[in-house]
Symmetry: C2
Subunit: 139 residues, 2 copies
Amino acid sequence: MKKDKLLKVGLKSTAPRIKILHMLEKANPRHVSAENIYKKLLGTGEDIALATVYRVLLQFEQARLIIRHNFEEGRSVFELAEGAHHDHLVCIQCHMVAEFVDAEIEKRQVKIAMQAGFKMTDHHLTIYGVCQQCHQIQT
Amino acid sequence: MKKDKLLKVGLKSTAPRIKILHMLEKANPRHVSAENIYKKLLGTGEDIALATVYRVLLQFEQARLIIRHNFEEGRSVFELAEGAHHDHLVCIQCHMVAEFVDAEIEKRQVKIAMQAGFKMTDHHLTIYGVCQQCHQIQT
DNA sequence: GTCCGTGCAAAGGATTTGCATAATC
DNA sequence: GATTATGCAAATCCTTTGCACGGAC
């Protein structure tokens, strides 16, 4: 139940929060911007202010319900926090995002941070390129 | 000579461009923001508009004289393009940026992109954490 | 009933752009 | 001299914030 999920992280169960959480849970593609969510809500007849979307997303991020990414595109995208850490492939044309994990790369990152005297808190590996679909369209 | 370096990439040799290029060449730390450059220029008595700094940085980026990075901090930082590709370690406290390369990680990225059907154009691996210095200060 | 959440509009920071003037080739 | 650059100020994009009202516990 979404209500319980919110209460568990110390957030009051309000209509906007439940609806935004719902959007994130059924988001396809998984990675969406604040604007995406706002427009989808408008489309279903909901009347939630964009400012509220931003506020709720920030709270969800702090409650670790979602993860915020800042790819090389000047706006944040969010994804539901579930399952393990993973990295991203981003299509520079259609903005599609795919995920991957590589255990060997993960291992080496830890080693590199250690060697540099860094106390690692996070790490992002993003591969930019043109996805198969976009590539075919142009050919 | 900076003048030739500019002409070679098709940019007229103007005073603002030469001075900004100079700032980038002697930047220490190597990674600087537009604001950083603007303020350093002001400090040396130069009177170059911030808008010009942005315009020139964009031109330099397009001419591949510099590389733009958007780390998870809401503003761009630039570094002179010289030497080979490398990845970054960013201190989340003092914003210090260090560089590294790992051949094995590079190899695996190419393979991952290929398997996903991506035509890779770029890739960024950034490790965030607390650098040794910041860590010591707090202890 | 108290406290927190929301909508609205305005503010904010980084970056870009239009326009008239000034510099380079 | 024609074209491209620059300074200035205004505009833009994404995101945050102040305030008065409404809803959750």
